[in-house]
Symmetry: C2
Subunit: 198 residues, 2 copies
Amino acid sequence: MPHITLPDNVPGIRSLVLYRPDTGQPLYELAQTVLRAGSPDSTLTDAERELIAAYVSSQNCTDFCRMSHAAASRYLFGNQAPVVDQVLNDPDTAPVSARLRALLVIAQRTAQDARTVDDTVVAAARAHGATDGDIHDTVLIAASFCMFNRYVDGLATLTLTPTDPALYEAMGERMGTLGYVVPTKAEATLSDGPSSSL
Amino acid sequence: MPHITLPDNVPGIRSLVLYRPDTGQPLYELAQTVLRAGSPDSTLTDAERELIAAYVSSQNCTDFCRMSHAAASRYLFGNQAPVVDQVLNDPDTAPVSARLRALLVIAQRTAQDARTVDDTVVAAARAHGATDGDIHDTVLIAASFCMFNRYVDGLATLTLTPTDPALYEAMGERMGTLGYVVPTKAEATLSDGPSSSL
């Protein structure tokens, strides 16, 4: 049960955005910018951005964020969707590019202790083609999900149990197509279906 | 030296905001909302909000954020300014209200592992007068500084050494009066003086 009075039957960050639209607005704008727009010189695809978000949420053990962003990443990867769960299970052996694998190391270090993002791991990413924008965006995606994860966990917001994969699948499709738009109460509420983003 | 090419002689998050104004804008809007506006029912003062930000930055060992937000908090506390360093040194013995002490526990747990913000620590804060808004804002300030701290540390942005306390004092005064406005390059650059916020 959430630690503060939030709208009923609304999971995760959606409940917090309805509770405080003034903080919700910049939070959704940030999500849209880091998960979609990206740096001008970045080579990261939207599918890869969502995968970094899901991976960091997995490291932080925040189920709602992990499941929803994994669903968005699967949708965006299309016929390569199985790679998402392979990365979440073991990024070292998942069939991803050396560039993305190196960026996942930077994401993991940013989440655990950002001071350990050192010249060695940055050089490794560059050696495999990562640009300044890729490194910037990876660090900011990881850092921002350390915020989103703590925000939903620290207030004990409602977490869905993965009893209905279709729920997450539809959520992922919406996140993959519409991106991050502040939901209305009707859109955010579970009884009205999994129509909202984030 | 920063991991990516950033404007010369600009410390901390200011360099990142100049590098990517599109992400800087929602980040500064978020800072302004959580450190100034606050929830309608919140009893937290601006000085206390800045203190929570400095305390979390201290926990995360991010010097630039700790020093700049501590300076802002000192400015806002006025003749009670010594309490800032007392909290940073030992929140258990610092002469703060029982309400703020209980909220600092929630902030510390949010930063370390937000899943440990349990009913007990929330009830303790409520017993001392904390409102829903206080609890919400404390968690979001702590969560957002886990992001800001990781963003500046993960990219190894320039950190000032505290050789000139007047630099931080002037910075704190500006943050305490103008709040969080995206700086221009001239404002953000050290050679032009400590005129910028955050």
